[in-house]
């Protein structure tokens, strides 16, 4: 900085930055302290500090992990299996397509070319889920996929596919073709060249894309609402259902929220690194 910034400007900047930090952190902190309050303390007005203003209790946590664990664990594992399964599938299928679209020329009936095809794939993301979910509901009931983990895995794979195709295109395009061409000369097939050369080189992009779609699948609500009942219920459905079932048992809701947030907070740390290195920006510009 050549020019020295006036003190009042720096002060304003700090106020704005820390102000936003409070806006982000306060709700998270409040959820945390509410989860260790007793039922009566929840309604005892605003109590901010455990040990000083109120005696923390683990009632709500115990209920989730011990008393009602048999009930909650099925939803928790549903969420884990469905999010992981669908993200892995979406990354495999999506990166194959994405690679094909960046490397080879497809022409369909003389009109549909790569640009149109990739636009078509990506534009799937625009569709509001309600527009496709009713036929899927009927289809899934017919083929016995309704309210199953596999059913939701298939639905989420489709729902995340556009994101994978979109994010990976930019990444694959940045990898020099010459490397693959030399592999062809050594007798590799296209798939082998892709698996042995391109894929390892794009590992960071793949991991970041995987984490991205994992978070989306983990948090998805409306599709699960249509396509599951009690058997394949996921955490967002369970959380949303607290409204009707229990009235405002805030400490229990806070625990449910926290156990759902914690895994993705860990992911946030990694994602931040990837995004600040430029994943997304290339794709957003395009």
């Amino acid at each position: 900085m050549k020019r020295k910034r006036p003190v009042w400007q720096t002060a304003l900047m700090y106020i704005a930055l820390y102000g936003w930090a409070i806006i982000v952190a306060l709700p998270l902190y409040w959820t945390l302290v509410t989860s260790i309050k007793s039922r009566s303390n929840v309604f005892n007005g605003p109590l901010y500090l455990p040990f000083i203003q109120f005696q923390p209790v683990m009632d709500a946590w115990n209920r989730f992990f011990i008393t009602d664990w048999r009930y909650f664990s099925s939803q928790y594992f549903n969420s884990i299996i469905i999010a992981l399964g669908s993200s892995i599938l979406a990354v495999i299928i999506g990166s194959l397509a994405s690679y094909g679209l960046t490397r080879f020329k497809y022409i369909w009936g003389g009109k549909l070319r790569n640009r149109e095809l990739s636009f078509y794939f990506i534009s799937q993301r625009i569709l509001p889920p309600v527009a496709v979910v009713i036929p899927l509901f009927i289809l899934f009931q017919t083929v016995k996929l309704f309210d199953t983990q596999i059913g939701l895995i298939i639905a989420y794979t489709a729902f995340n596919l556009p994101l994978v195709v979109w994010l990976m295109q930019d990444y694959f395009a940045s990898i020099p073709v010459e490397l693959e061409e030399s592999a062809y000369i050594d007798g590799c097939s296209k798939l082998e060249a892709f698996l042995r050369i391109t894929l390892p080189l794009s590992a960071p992009g793949l991991v970041a894309t995987f984490l991205f779609v994992l978070v989306f699948a983990w948090n998805e609500y409306i599709i699960a609402l249509f396509l599951s009942q009690s058997n394949a219920q996921t955490m967002p459905i369970l959380i949303a259902a607290q409204n009707a079932q229990r009235g405002p048992e805030w400490e229990a809701i806070s625990v449910l929220t926290l156990v759902t947030i914690l895994p993705v907070c860990v992911i946030a740390v990694f994602l931040e690194r990837f995004i600040s290195r430029g994943l997304l920006v290339g794709a957003v510009k395009g």
């Binding site: 936003w20 794979t157 967002p236 949303a240 907070c265 997304l280």
Partner: protein, 300 residues
């Protein structure tokens, strides 16, 4: 000659193999449902005594009913309100905070991760968190609310306050996405224009309006496009926050479709969903072809 054509065929076949799984998924999970939805939306559906679905073709009747239904227009108005006000807020805040994060202020490495967290939380949980935090009786802001005299704010009884609540929740959740993308965009900007401007003695404000903003346009208009089409799907936030109420004050078109589905009127649900697709497509295309194209020309 023969070998070449076999080679070509093999080549095409292996190249098509990359695309095939994705094409199958898109066909089964998107094209088929879209066509069925369209057909369904032109029928009148009812359940027979045996429980089977019975369909009767009625043409565009569902659509004409909806277009004269005040509830449909109301929910569309709500959706547009949430989309435009929400995205505008998210972009304004996001740009400001992203700029702040480039200023090398104390604590920014930590803030970069912290600021990302709201977008990682499932929207239904964000709705509950907002309900707790903005509860002026027992929430953390109660003392301030009491001091300022709005402790009894009727969040859920007043139409506009409920709408505000949804916008606050959505903005809390999605501003982080705008921040993180714009921040990466800002950091990828070239240095030279700034050095030249400094030599010419430009003020920071001039640098922002003459250099940063125009150079950032491809990224900013892109991130707005993404938020725009995503925001049209808004349903999980109001479903938990307000249930669409009071009345239909916060009911979005997707939520209207869901409530209609719950009354077992599959055909009307499909028609609502289709109308929403039409609106999103029109607004997305207009934005892309008019605003975004011009912005990209400005940025060169």
């Amino acid at each position: 000659m023969k070998t070449t054509s076999t080679n070509n065929r093999n080549k095409t076949r292996s190249e098509l193999g990359f695309l095939l799984p994705a094409l199958v998924v898109v066909f089964v999970m998107s094209i088929f449902p879209l066509i069925s939805s369209l057909l369904l939306s032109m029928t009148k559906s009812s359940f027979s005594t045996g429980g089977g679905l019975q369909l009767e073709f009625v043409g565009f009747q569902n659509y004409s009913n909806l277009l004269s239904d005040a509830r449909f227009w109301g929910t569309l108005g709500n959706t547009l309100l949430f989309v435009f006000i929400g995205v505008a807020l998210q972009f304004g805040l996001g740009l400001g905070i992203a700029m702040l994060l480039t200023q090398k202020l104390f604590g920014q490495t930590f803030f970069r991760v912290l600021f990302l967290i709201p977008m990682m939380i499932t929207p239904v949980a964000v709705a509950y968190i907002m309900k707790m935090v903005l509860n002026f009786q027992i929430g953390p802001l109660a003392p301030i609310a009491k001091a300022l005299g709005f402790a009894d704010l009727p969040w859920f009884a007043d139409a506009n306050l409920s709408r505000l609540l949804v916008i606050v929740g959505d903005t809390w959740q999605w501003t982080p996405f705008v921040i993180i993308v714009l921040l990466a965009g800002l950091e990828a900007l070239p240095n030279e224009p700034y050095e030249a401007a400094q030599v010419e003695g430009a003020t920071p404000w001039q640098m922002f309006t003459q250099i940063t903003f125009p150079l950032l346009l491809p990224v900013s208009t892109g991130v707005v496009l993404i938020r725009l089409v995503e925001a049209f799907k808004i349903v999980d936030m109001p479903i938990v926050l307000t249930g669409g109420g009071p009345g239909i004050a916060t009911e979005t078109t997707s939520l209207f479709a869901y409530y209609t589905w719950r009354t077992f009127d599959q055909s009307k649900t499909a028609a609502i969903a289709y109308l929403l697709v039409v609106v999103v497509t029109i607004i997305g295309t207009l934005y892309n072809n008019i605003i975004r194209k011009r912005a990209l020309e400005v940025a060169g």
